[in-house]
Structure formats: structure tokens, C-alpha cells
């Protein structure tokens, strides 16, 4: 879908405009004057509607100007978590950021998310991020024999961890965290969100295994409540609050 043909419902009302995108690029094999692995800025201009997503603008570049521009994307409506990137110095999903919400008079700066090794253009190596997630044992650990029907859980108990079930593992929070930027000494906010979802689940009994991991060197005590993560989360999860709740449990010993 190109930017022009995405929105017939809005065409007419929304005039098209020229937008400039300044993209932080890197080609692992070298291209033109640029050596392999050298990063550089490149500017593109596209015709777009104010209601287009940044992702639509990136697609216009890829499809009409430079097919070598590399970025990940899939669902294009903010639920798969593929296209987290730094847009005007803030971590966002390209498919959930509309051009009208940025200042189109100035070039829109687009960079890969920070703190993970850049592979090509806007594609980073996600493996360290997923490794942190796996570290906190993100799966239900009940004890005792499984019941024949469902395990019971009241709506209130279910509500207790609702916020952190929204996480789509896009890494916007973790790569917005200044503590995470320092060569992997910290699991990052997402792993704590992932643990929070189980720690506060009334059916789970592995809380103290997870809390022990989060109490360690790379755990919650690294958090300095910068709130970058909360601001970055495209799903509106109160990440810093979730981290604080985990700290509180560790300090009081009560869930």
C-alpha cells in the first residue's frame, strides 16, 4: 500500500505535502562511497498525506526511490512490534506515528533503536533483547496437579497484571533506557515488564525464582526511574510503575 492509495476515506480532506526524511543508514557490505559498516545520514523527499504513517513514507522510499533501504515491518497497525525505531529522537513504532503528529516543516530524523548492534539501516540485532526476556522465565509456573477445568481467578486478580500483558516485545522501552545503553549490564525494562506479568498473576507460583533474578546485579535496582520507558511504550504500559511494583515486593517481601 502506498501512501497515496491508503486512505480514500480521507482523500480530499487531507492535502498532500512534501516531507523530508533524514535516515541513519548503514550498509554491512558497503555501498557507493560508504565503507562496509560505516553509518551515515541520507535524505529523502516523499509526497505524502498528513494522515500517513511514517511507515507509509518509508515504504514510498523503499518502493519508489531506494529498494536497498532496510527496515522490519509486518502488521502496520501497532500490534506486532516489528518497526520500533527512533523518530525525532524518540522511540516509537513507525506504523503508529502519523506524519501530522510530527513537524513536517523540518526533516524527520529516523534512526535505529539504540543499544542493540545495528545490522543494516534500521534493522538491529534483537537477540540480546530476547535473551533478557528468556532470562526471567516468562512462562506460568504453577505447582500441584493441573485441575480438570480452568484454574479459577477473580476479575480483580486478573486485573492486577492486565497492564503488563499488553507488551508486544517491540523493544521501544528497553532501547530508550539510558541504563540499557551501557553494554548490557541491565536486563532492561521489557524483561521486568515480562516478569511483572507473571509475578502478579495469582495462578503463578514461580514468583520468587523470578524475583531472585531481578534482585541481582542486572535487575531492578539498576532502574533510576528516568521514565523514558513509560514514555516510549507504544502500548501505553506504565513501565516504570511496573518496575517500582517489583522493587516494592523485593523490599517488603510481600506480593
Amino acid at each position: 500500500m502506498t501512501a497515496v492509495d491508503t486512505a480514500p476515506a480521507q482523500v480530499g480532506g487531507v492535502p498532500s505535502m512534501t516531507v523530508t526524511l533524514r535516515i541513519r543508514r548503514l550498509n554491512p557490505e558497503g555501498v557507493g562511497d560508504h565503507a562496509a559498516g560505516e553509518d551515515y545520514w541520507e535524505e529523502f523527499q516523499v509526497e505524502a498525506h498528513a494522515t500517513d504513517r511514517v511507515l507509509d513514507a518509508l515504504h514510498k522510499i523503499k518502493w519508489e526511490q531506494d529498494g536497498s533501504l532496510a527496515f522490519r515491518r509486518s502488521c502496520a497497525h501497532g500490534v506486532c512490534g516489528s518497526d520500533a525505531m527512533r523518530i525525532n529522537a524518540k522511540n516509537r513504532l513507525a506504523c503508529k506515528t502519523l506524519l501530522k503528529d510530527l513537524n513536517p516543516a523540518k526533516p524527520i530524523l529516523i534512526e535505529p533503536i539504540a543499544g542493540l548492534p545495528v545490522e543494516k539501516d534500521l534493522i538491529v540485532d534483537m537477540e540480546p533483547f530476547f535473551a533478557s526476556y528468556r532470562e526471567i522465565m516468562p512462562f506460568l509456573m504453577p505447582s500441584g496437579p493441573a485441575p480438570e477445568r480452568e484454574r479459577l481467578q477473580s476479575p480483580e486478580e486478573r486485573e492486577r497484571f492486565d497492564d503488563t500483558t499488553k507488551c508486544i516485545l517491540c523493544a521501544a522501552c528497553t532501547t530508550a533506557c539510558p541504563v540499557f545503553w551501557t553494554d548490557g549490564q541491565y536486563f532492561g525494562p521489557q524483561a521486568i515488564v515480562g516478569a511483572h506479568r507473571f509475578i502478579f498473576d495469582s495462578r503463578d507460583e514461580g514468583q520468587w525464582d523470578r524475583l531472585e533474578i531481578l534482585n541481582d546485579k542486572a535487575g531492578v535496582w539498576k532502574c533510576r526511574t528516568a521514565f523514558n520507558c513509560t514514555e516510549a511504550c507504544p502500548r501505553g504500559i506504565e513501565v516504570t510503575k511496573a518496575i517500582s511494583e517489583v522493587k516494592k515486593v523485593l523490599n517488603t517481601g510481600e506480593i
Partner: protein
């Protein structure tokens, strides 16, 4: 070229793939090859729920669910498969709950259930609450929960490996009926390096999802390019019932982004420009909760007859304004946010512009109820399995009921995983790989990569746009012989010009440009069989509506289409429908 060997190789890591992997990896050495990180799969975009007759909130039973599924599918459903789907539904939901899935709960702490289109009490008497759900992100929760269980079981994933070819011991079309054709492995392309990897396996499970990108307006992800179906077709296997494509009634107008049927299940109402609740005219009993094909057609008809809303009168309105904002926030938080983000509409106070969007392929790779892939109406391909949207069991027939797809991936994903592992355990050695099995793919990749340095005049994006636009215009909710003839011509033209396509990126690493070109190849092939099946089916049934043949014709077309790709184009054959309990009746709601 790098060679790997496993007992079971699963292609795709969405709901069906990971559900299969959970079963298979406990029994046999299993690898999951996926073109996306598992959590990016489109199962995560499913919203409303997963059907199962738990009877937690209202009287219900599996038999009613079977009936609704068959009637919803306009009697093209294989009834033995539908019985399995609905009877195993309860355990499928309970299994997910035990894995940790956070369902919404009733006051007693049981799994809560909500209404959904086409699900009724007592054979169509009234809507029933059958959909087990987790707000409006049930698919997200299923995907996350299955991924979490895969982490626990240390399932081996090959992330961003694009499977692009299937290796069989014989050409399935050349092989005589009854002769054995076995799977030997798959050929894949590693995105990070551009390397070709051949995976030899005793069993291969295809769980590659849908092909919504053959249409322009679709709820499907950019990555849903029907690779698995396309690979099977090119390998000489048939595709079943591809003309049946579901158009979800409530896509955000102009964008196609999905707004769950749960919006209507929770009380939302569709209105035309006159404010009329028009579904009362089309389905007097269950109104807005009629099956999707009927609602989508009713909406398109309202627009066609000039009762569309908006400046161009090209959409209808989904009205939630009579619902309490707190209720909306609790049950439908995500979809209301989509309306705010993408259309700037506040659903508390304004109706949301909606129009049908291409959503789900009822057809796919034909399989048995154990997930075994068929190479004609009766013979199975030894060791090859398929599950989920890419497969056609067929439990959805001519129209899938909402919430039956999340059920399908869990029930038949599980069955395929078990069957694949058990086949692998019973097989001493994988079939020998054909000599130079990777050659076909290597040749295509090299040829495309060479176009980055010159030669080739057609652009991938340009051809894809032409393909998608003709499909939207001619093969959507309403179809005629003329529209399908036009689509046939455009698809043939696009296919011819595809031979001359050029890419920009000459690199080995992360060459997404190259992959988009390969994906377009699959889209063209699938559009071709879809149009061919639709042209030949001179009747209206479920999601396939021919204005020139507006009624169902059970005498001539109570049969599944089986489409084969041959050197001379698409060859169509037919397969009988399995009927066990319910004789076809007129479909009224």
C-alpha cells in the same frame, strides 16, 4: 549451501506453528523455521476470541457449535472435521488457560465468554456467548502464551529464515495414483546472510498463514504473502477452495485495519447514512451478529445503493456511542485506540467509519483431519503436514465464523504437531534429498539479484499495486463473469511482466528488496488460482458471491475446488464434501 537435519521441521511460528512445535518438540527433534520473529506473527493481530462451548455463562454444547460452523460455512464444511474442531475446542481453551493465558473472567473466576457472529443457541434460535476472550487482544495473548511455552520447552527457532521451496521425492502430478510421494525437506533463505539452507526432515509441517496481500484493502500484515500455499502449488500440490476469501465487515474505512466483531458482540450497531440499523433487513433474527459474509455483503450493498456515509458515501458506520465508556475501555480498548490513532475518531461519541476488508483465506493446502497434506483427492504426501490458515481441512467451508480461526490453529496445529512427530518416530530415515534440490531456488535468487546491476524493467511495487487493485476491484465481495474475466487478464499480464522484474539491492545481507520480489511471485500465483476458482464456480455460496449466479447451486457445486498449477495454467478439479449429520438447508439468520 548449508545442510541441516531434523526429525521434524515446522515452517511458520504463528499460532498453528508454535502449537505444533509444543507437541512435536516433546517427542522428536524439531526445528521451527520462521520468516519473522515468532512474536511478530499475525496471530497476534486476532482480537475477538476463541470459540468453545464451555457453557460457563450460558447453556451451550459442542453440537450447536458444530451446527453453527457448518451453517456458517454454507454447507461446504467437511462435517467430520467440524465435529473434531468443536469437540476438541473445550480442551483447546483449557489447555491454553493451563499454559497461563490470561482470559477475562466471570465473577466466579471462570473463563468469561461473549457473543460473536453466527454463534447461536439451539440451532440458530438466538445468539449465544461462546467466544472465550481476553479483552480485544485474544490473539495477542495466544501468541505470547505459546511463545512463552516454547521458551520453556527450549524449542529451536530459526528466526528470519524464509522457506521458499519444498523438496519431495517425486513430482506429485507425474506420480501415479496410489504411488508414494514423500517429503524430503525444505529449502530456505537466511535473511541475515543471504545463505541458502537445506533442511532435511522426516516430517515437515507448513503453518505459514494467510495471503491477504493479494488484495489492496486488507487486515493482513505486509508479510502475509501466502508463501506456504505458493510453495505447495509450485511443488505440484493442489490448493483447495481458494475462491473463498473472507471479507471482514468492519475494517477501518480506507485503511483495512481490523475492528473486531466483538465490537458488535458487545452491543455495537452498524448504521447507514440515514442512521438506519440496516442489518435488521438482512438478518432479522441475529441482525448485526450475522456471519461475516452476509454482513460484508449487506454493507457493500448499502454503499452501492447510495446509503453510504461520508463525503464520498463509500463506507458505513459502526456505532458504539450508546455503550458506556467504561465498558468500551474494559472490553474493546485496542480497537477504539485504532479508531482514534488512524482516523482521529472518538468512538465514545462518534460512530466509526468502516468497510469490508480482505481478512481470511478459507481455502489452502488440502489436509486430512490429522493435518496430512493431500496431493489429489485421496493420496497423502508422506511426512508432509499443514495447519492453520494456510491449510484447508475444511472446517470453514465457504465462510469462516469469527473465533473459529484461533480455535482452528490450536486444534489442528496440535494434531499436526503430534502426527508429524509420530510419523518421524516411526520412520527410520528421512527420504533422500534430491540431487541439487536447492538449485531451483538458487537460480531464482541469483537471477533476481543480478537485476540490481541492470536488466529488468518492472518494479515490484508497481506490479504488486496493479495486482492488488484489480483484486480489490474485481474479486471482492461482489463478483461477476466480467469482473473475473478482467481480473484474469490483469493477473496474466502481471505474471508475464513479473519475468522482467528488477530489484535495487544487490547485497547479501538483509536484502528485504529481494524477498519482496520473491513474495510477489507467490501472490501472483495465488491470485491466479483464486480468480480461476471463482470464475468456474457459477453459484453464490458463503464468501463467494456471483451477481450473475446469485443463489447456491448444490446440484452442481456442492464440492470443493482443487486447483493445480500446470505448465498450461491452472487446472481445476473437484472433491466431494463430507456430510455426516446436517443436510444442506437454506441459510437464513
Amino acid at each position: 549451501m548449508i545442510e541441516h537435519e531434523y526429525d521434524v521441521v515446522i515452517v511458520g511460528a504463528g499460532g498453528a506453528g508454535m502449537r505444533a512445535a509444543l507437541e512435536s518438540s516433546q517427542r522428536a527433534r524439531t526445528a521451527v523455521l520462521t520468516k519473522l520473529y515468532p512474536t511478530r506473527s499475525h496471530t497476534g493481530a486476532a482480537q475477538g476470541g476463541m470459540a468453545a462451548a464451555l457453557a460457563n455463562v450460558e447453556d451451550d454444547n459442542a453440537e450447536w457449535h458444530v451446527f453453527d460452523t457448518i451453517k456458517g460455512g454454507d454447507y461446504l464444511v467437511d462435517q467430520d472435521a467440524a465435529e473434531i474442531l468443536c469437540r476438541e475446542a473445550v480442551d483447546a481453551v483449557l489447555d491454553l488457560e493451563k499454559m497461563g493465558l490470561p482470559f477475562n473472567r466471570t465473577e466466579e473466576g471462570k473463563i468469561d465468554q461473549r457473543r460473536f457472529g453466527g454463534h447461536t443457541r439451539d440451532h440458530g434460535q438466538a445468539p449465544v456467548r461462546r467466544a472465550c476472550y481476553s479483552a480485544d487482544r485474544t490473539g495477542h495473548m495466544i501468541l505470547q502464551t505459546l511463545y512463552q511455552q516454547c521458551i520453556r520447552q527450549q524449542v529451536e527457532f530459526y528466526n528470519e529464515y524464509y522457506v521458499l521451496d519444498l523438496l519431495l521425492t517425486e513430482d506429485p502430478q507425474a506420480a501415479a495414483p496410489g504411488e508414494e510421494v514423500a517429503v524430503a525437506g525444505v529449502v530456505s533463505y537466511e535473511l541475515a546472510t543471504g545463505e541458502i539452507h537445506v533442511f532435511r526432515a522426516k516430517s515437515v509441517v507448513f503453518a505459514t498463514g494467510g495471503a491477504g496481500k493479494i488484495f489492496k484493502t486488507t487486515s493482513n500484515a505486509h508479510t502475509l504473502t501466502g508463501d506456504g500455499m505458493g510453495i505447495a502449488l509450485r511443488a505440484g500440490l493442489p490448493l483447495e477452495d481458494m475462491e473463498f476469501f473472507q471479507f471482514h465487515p468492519t475494517g477501518l474505512a480506507g485503511l483495512g485495519i481490523l475492528l473486531s466483531e466483538a465490537a458488535r458482540g458487545e452491543g455495537g450497531i452498524l448504521r447507514n447514512s440515514e442512521g438506519e440499523r440496516f442489518m435488521e433487513r438482512y438478518a432479522p433474527t441475529i441482525k448485526d451478529l450475522a456471519p461475516r459474509d452476509m454482513v460484508a455483503r449487506a454493507m457493500a450493498n448499502e454503499v452501492r445503493e447510495g446509503r453510504g456515509a461520508g463525503p464520498h458515501k463509500d463506507y458505513v458506520l459502526l456505532d458504539l456511542t450508546h455503550l458506556e465508556p467504561a465498558h468500551i475501555d474494559a472490553k474493546l480498548p485496542d480497537i477504539t485506540e485504532f479508531a482514534r490513532t488512524y482516523l482521529g475518531v472518538e468512538p465514545y461519541t462518534e460512530p466509526v467509519p468502516v468497510y469490508p476488508t480482505a481478512h481470511y483465506a478459507m481455502g489452502g493446502i488440502p489436509t486430512t483431519v490429522q493435518g496430512e497434506v493431500l496431493r489429489n483427492n485421496t493420496d497423502k504426501v508422506t511426512g508432509l503436514y499443514a495447519a492453520g490458515e494456510c491449510a484447508c481441512v475444511s472446517v470453514h467451508g465457504a465462510n469462516r465464523l469469527g473465533t473459529n480461526s484461533l480455535l482452528d490453529i490450536n486444534v489442528f496445529g496440535r494434531r499436526a504437531g503430534i502426527a508429524a512427530a509420530e510419523h518421524a518416530l516411526a520412520t527410520a530415515e528421512a527420504a533422500p534429498l534430491p540431487a541439487n534440490g536447492e538449485a531451483r531456488l538458487v537460480e531464482i535468487v541469483e537471477r533476481l539479484r543480478a537485476t540490481a546491476s541492470g536488466g529488468g524493467t518492472e518494479s515490484v511495487a508497481g506490479l504488486r499495486k496493479e495486482l492488488q487493485e484489480t483484486m480489490d476491484r474485481n474479486v471482492q465481495v461482489f463478483r461477476t463473469a466480467e469482473s473475473l474475466a478482467e481480473a484474469t487478464a490483469v493477473v496474466a499480464d502481471v505474471k508475464a511482466r513479473y519475468a522482467n522484474v528488477a530489484i535495487h539491492d544487490r547485497g547479501q545481507k538483509y536484502n528485504t528488496d529481494l524477498l519482496e520480489a520473491l513474495e510477489l511471485g507467490f501472490l501472483i500465483d495465488l491470485a491466479e488460482v483464486t480468480v480461476a476458482g471463482a470464475l468456474a464456480r457459477e453459484e453464490s455460496r458463503g464468501g463467494h458471491y456471483r451477481e450473475d449466479f446469485p443463489t447456491r447451486d448444490d446440484d452442481k457445486f456442492m464440492k470443493h475446488t482443487m486447483a493445480y498449477a500446470t505448465g498450461e495454467g491452472v487446472r481445476l478439479d473437484y472433491k466431494p464434501v463430507t456430510i455426516t449429520t446436517y443436510q444442506p438447508m437454506e441459510r437464513k439468520y
